[in-house]
Symmetry: C2
Subunit: 450 residues, 2 copies
Amino acid sequence: MKTIIIGAVAAGAKAAMKLKRLLPESEITIYTQDTHVSYSSCGLPYFIKGDFDDFNYLLVKSPEEFEKDGIKVFLKHRVDKIQPQYNKVLVSDLDGKTSFLDTYDNLIIATGARPYIPHIANMNLKNVFVLRRIEDGINVKDAVKRSKRAVIIGSGYIGMELLEAIASNDVHVDIIEKMPNIMPNMDEDVSNLIKEELESIAQGRFEFHTGENVIEFRGDCDSVKQVVTENGKIIDTDMIVIAAGVVPNVEIAKDAGIKIGVTGAIQVDKFMRTNIKNIYACGDCAEKTMMITETPVYIPLGSYASKEGRCAAINASGQVDGFYGILGSTVTRCFDLTISMTGLTTKKALEIGKNPVSTVITKSDRVGYMPEVDNITLKLIADKSSGQLLGAQAVGSKYADKKINSLTSALTAKMTVSEFLNNDNTYSPPYSTTVDLLYNAALKLKDQIE
Amino acid sequence: MKTIIIGAVAAGAKAAMKLKRLLPESEITIYTQDTHVSYSSCGLPYFIKGDFDDFNYLLVKSPEEFEKDGIKVFLKHRVDKIQPQYNKVLVSDLDGKTSFLDTYDNLIIATGARPYIPHIANMNLKNVFVLRRIEDGINVKDAVKRSKRAVIIGSGYIGMELLEAIASNDVHVDIIEKMPNIMPNMDEDVSNLIKEELESIAQGRFEFHTGENVIEFRGDCDSVKQVVTENGKIIDTDMIVIAAGVVPNVEIAKDAGIKIGVTGAIQVDKFMRTNIKNIYACGDCAEKTMMITETPVYIPLGSYASKEGRCAAINASGQVDGFYGILGSTVTRCFDLTISMTGLTTKKALEIGKNPVSTVITKSDRVGYMPEVDNITLKLIADKSSGQLLGAQAVGSKYADKKINSLTSALTAKMTVSEFLNNDNTYSPPYSTTVDLLYNAALKLKDQIE
């Protein structure tokens, strides 16, 4: 049996390793356009910041190690076409400029996603970057060393992590967000709180520009020097990182007749199967299911990629394993602020026709008399009619994500607010308050349930 | 309507405040033998350590504040007898040495617990302490300042917190545990790991003596100077703290015909009602229900006391609220080591006839390339036949309790290991590993389920 895997960052790499363990005798070939495999792109902001300076720390497993395990790896090889009727793929060697056909029994598509690039004039100027691959990280880190001012376009979690990374290197950062609020995936009240908290520690090191749409870059000797927004704002800069979200790489799948879901990513079932037999998709190119609503969503995260790659491999091997969906649980650090969420926001819940009620509570993260005590603000959301917990957002101390991770299994179990009130979290003064913030929030929310 | 509340540390104080909010016109009287009300005894180790030096930080609400809210507080008043047939209590004024009767419509027993004192010769020597009330904390803190060597009897979580508190003041600590393992509520493998970890940082500052039963104190000019164990071990010391667990204060309840449960604490239903109408019990004097097994247990913790006090007040007021039980979730800090658990240990699961399987995994608490990365060891336990999660123990970095608190709602929801594998925890490099320790453990445990 031969399996071809397209892409090898998180999902593809995991699929290859798992499949080799399950079927040691089977043939596995990886094709990737990238020059690296199996790396942690989530670590790039910390590499840029200078938490470590050797990018090799980001590499989980080298092509040589894959080869040693009996997995063939073709770097800088692009799959141009999938021919499901012949079980073949057409591959281009990007260096040699040659093409060839290869045959599979199982095909695992793990083509990932690419940065979304908005329409901006003079995009080809120097010192304009995206952040996705190892090379991007090296280039941005290098540019930071040469720069006094940087612009980040987009204030999602990568934008916010880059803000910390770049501003910590004494480079002034202007962060530009098209939407009226930073971190637009979060609810406006939480987003406003994040902005206030960060502005209170900015001390001139960075500035947010919300509701600003970048339409033009202006340069000087080929290098970018200014950013111009639709409202006529002109911001001077030495470098730009575009962090405006990602687009799933689905083109070759679509051309081959593989069904694309409503979110624009490849539609898969819980066994990571596409609509075509023996073709699986996993990772950032694949659609996910939001567990709370059982509806398709596109939230591409490294932790999902790894689990989906594992699941695709098990099913491709002939065994059965299911990946039942996600909650969109995330955590982001921006300086000393932890920003974490899970499940639906109020905004999202309204969009899909739920009747959300919510409560927002701020409380100390530990008992007030303990040293270095800090605050956490929690927004807890439930459905007014059923009482089912829908989601939560937390902002504050480095323990803020603990509150969110206490809620994830409650959301997975589709608990109501009343059921969650029975939850027994740990307590002692260095770790939490006697009455937990989660309990306070659930108690307050319960009063709003019908 | 008049409610008498006996005791006012956590449960009693909470019950009084909640009841006053629900029924502002009702009469509420608190009787307590203590000289303080509404305080955080959990904070005493940190007061002794010197994290703060004013014991007033431990006082949540003063008797004067209660009085201002219309709640009568009688300090140093002991309830000697409950007369359910007359709805009366017999009260002694400990200062005035007088007694009187008072009448109630509702009685809330929140008499708490007292330290368990083992049979040891010469217990009356000076510088022998327990740790329960504010005065105890003041006395121990004072003795630490005068001492070079201290002995702690008992290595439960208070013993371990005292170890950090006292040793951090440059006082050598010998900690003596009767059982073969420290923290005997935990499984032996986890307990051994804790001992190893702590011994590796001891540097002569403290020493564990397990399997040693103290039978005698020896003194010099009335002051304790030596501890003698059954095995003949003699340990020099300037002070002793007995932290050998607690005993619920149930005597007056028992005398009044209130039913005592199998655990020795007052039996209550989920509305905190005793077997006698209009008499409620809550906090450390009351039995709890282990949610996983629906069986009675005696695990007295401040966080339960507060919830139970609230529940007793709501039901006493005529409204309805249930407290459905506990998981025994705890967290303890000993120096830089976090020790946390929830649910059943393997030992406990075997005792009650379950068929437990478990897995122990050690993993870094964050991605390996992040600064100050540390380890967490997790033991995850499930029932072999049903696959139901039974409990977990975690030891390691300051984020170890995050893993336990991710499991608590899974245990509350009676999730199986397979169901828990769908859980979606947050990930980014400063907070966790791409594949979460919980997921690794659940995956490994799943293979052992029938």
